[in-house]
């Protein structure tokens, strides 16, 4: 039994919490700049302590549970949403260095996809237990949306699994280092994956479950203080996890492009990771929200057939003499 397997997860938790605080700050800044505003400026130098102040504010807010709510489920929901968000990080390899790999399980990708779908239950439960009409609508929408987009999400990475012949995320990266980044041979899979991933994260343009202009705040309307904070924390922890996963599955993880190996692998990982976090904020500032009916039809009629086509095209391209090395 090594002591560090208990210490490193705690360090990662601290890193994730700091990331979430500054991701929110950065998001507000980026959206501010895109909309010709300044974003937060008052709290601390250049508003850098804004998110810390927000967290503290949430901590000292009164905890109100509506009298009509289902109390045990109301309390359970944010925890059920948050626990899988953090637990999926166990299988993410950040570099090839053994100390930055937490758990090198053989079924890493499966573990991630299976666990991340538990969050939908927390969201659905929160919406239902609040006994509020907006919450219920938001929760039901979130449930329908997240299960619909989970299918294309899961199917779009089958091509990646086929080329690596493994579900282990480290091996998937090593296959890409030996061959090409999956974003090129698996481009269709990548497009389907990133759209489905944004829908799974409930972020704009797929933020119907918490559409503030029609549903107040959706499933977390009745939540106050730190219970609300855990729904937010779950969302941004998933941003962290999903940006890492996209980097690993499609962009070679810590692989250095153009032979720029003098830059350490971890720095490459962080650079690619940051590009995706930025992409999510950028999309939020530029895209309008989708209509509910379009959203559901798009998952089943658009993305699902595309994901299945991608599987069979990848399988067939394995037969083409020159191309087969990339599939």
């Amino acid at each position: 039994m090594d002591w560090y397997i208990f210490v490193y997860p705690v360090i990662l938790l601290a890193i994730v919490l700091v990331f979430v605080m500054y991701a929110i700050y950065f998001e507000r800044k980026v959206i501010g700049w895109i909309q010709l505003r300044k974003g937060p400026t008052e709290t601390g130098p250049k508003g850098l302590f804004q998110s810390a102040a927000d967290v503290f504010k949430l901590l000292i807010k009164e905890d109100i549970i509506p009298s009509k709510a289902d109390r045990p489920l109301f309390k359970l929901a944010p925890i059920l949403a948050y626990v899988p968000a953090f637990s999926v990080l166990a299988v993410i390899p950040f570099t090839d260095a053994p100390y930055l790999k937490f758990s090198n399980v053989a079924v890493g990708l499966m573990y991630y996809l299976a666990l991340s779908s538990i969050t939908v239950m927390g969201v659905l439960l929160g919406g239902w237990a609040s006994n509020n009409k907006y919450s219920l609508l938001g929760g039901m929408r979130a449930g329908a949306q997240m299960i619909s987009y989970e299918i294309p999400l899961v199917l779009s990475v089958v091509g990646v699994v086929m080329s690596a012949g493994s579900l282990n995320l480290t091996e998937i990266v090593e296959t890409q280092i030996a061959g090409a980044w999956n974003v090129f041979p698996q481009f269709l899979g990548f497009v389907v994956f990133i759209i489905a991933a944004i829908a799974e994260l409930n972020r704009t343009p797929f933020d119907l479950p918490e559409a503030e202009s029609e549903l107040v705040a959706g499933y977390h309307t009745e939540y106050t203080g730190f219970r609300f904070a855990f729904f937010m924390l779950a969302e941004y922890t998933y941003v962290f996890a999903m940006a890492s996963l996209i980097t690993i599955l499609f962009f070679g993880g810590w692989d250095a492009p153009f032979g720029l190996t003098f830059i350490p692998p971890l720095v490459w990982f962080i650079l690619k990771f940051c590009c995706f976090v930025f992409l999510l904020f950028w999309l939020r500032a530029t895209f309008p929200r989708l209509r509910g009916d379009q959203l559901m039809e798009f998952a089943w009629k658009g993305l699902l057939p595309l994901a299945i086509i991608n599987i069979f095209v990848s399988a067939l391209l394995k037969e083409v003499p020159f191309l087969s090395q990339y599939f």
């Binding site: 997860p9 938790l13 509506p66 579900l167 107040v216 394995k318």
Partner: protein, 122 residues
């Protein structure tokens, strides 16, 4: 390799410990002044009317059914994809044809749902 799953357990426990700790610490920091009005369900500032736990559109149930069907499909696709190269060297393209037949029947189901307008959100 037993350690790998121990780490997973550590992550899950840590995931439970953080909300538990934060909500416990919060209990000492936050005020507690319950009022009857505070505990009323929010409904845009007016008193809530009727019950929220109502019967819901059956469409959600249909989507849940579709989800179960295709999620089971992925459970079959993943082991197939992992061992694809291995099986291909063993039995050739038959392995691809077999999966194509399986997916074809599922797609028939999808087309049926499409035709029955289950996939439309009206």
């Amino acid at each position: 390799m037993g350690n790998e799953y121990l780490v997973v357990v550590v992550f899950i426990l840590l995931g439970i410990a953080l909300p538990a700790a934060a909500l416990t610490v919060g209990r000492f920091l936050r005020p507690h002044r319950p009022l009857k009005e505070k505990a009323i369900t929010y409904e845009s500032g007016v008193d809530p009317t009727g019950e929220s736990w109502v019967q819901f559109n059956v469409r959600y149930y249909l989507f849940a059914l579709m989800f179960v069907i295709f999620d089971v499909e992925t459970a079959f696709l993943y082991p197939w994809a992992v061992s694809y190269d291995l099986l291909r060297s063993d039995m050739g393209l038959l392995i691809l044809v077999e999966m194509a037949i399986f997916v074809f029947f599922l797609l028939l189901g999808l087309m049926y749902a499409w035709k029955k307008k289950v996939l439309e959100w009206k």
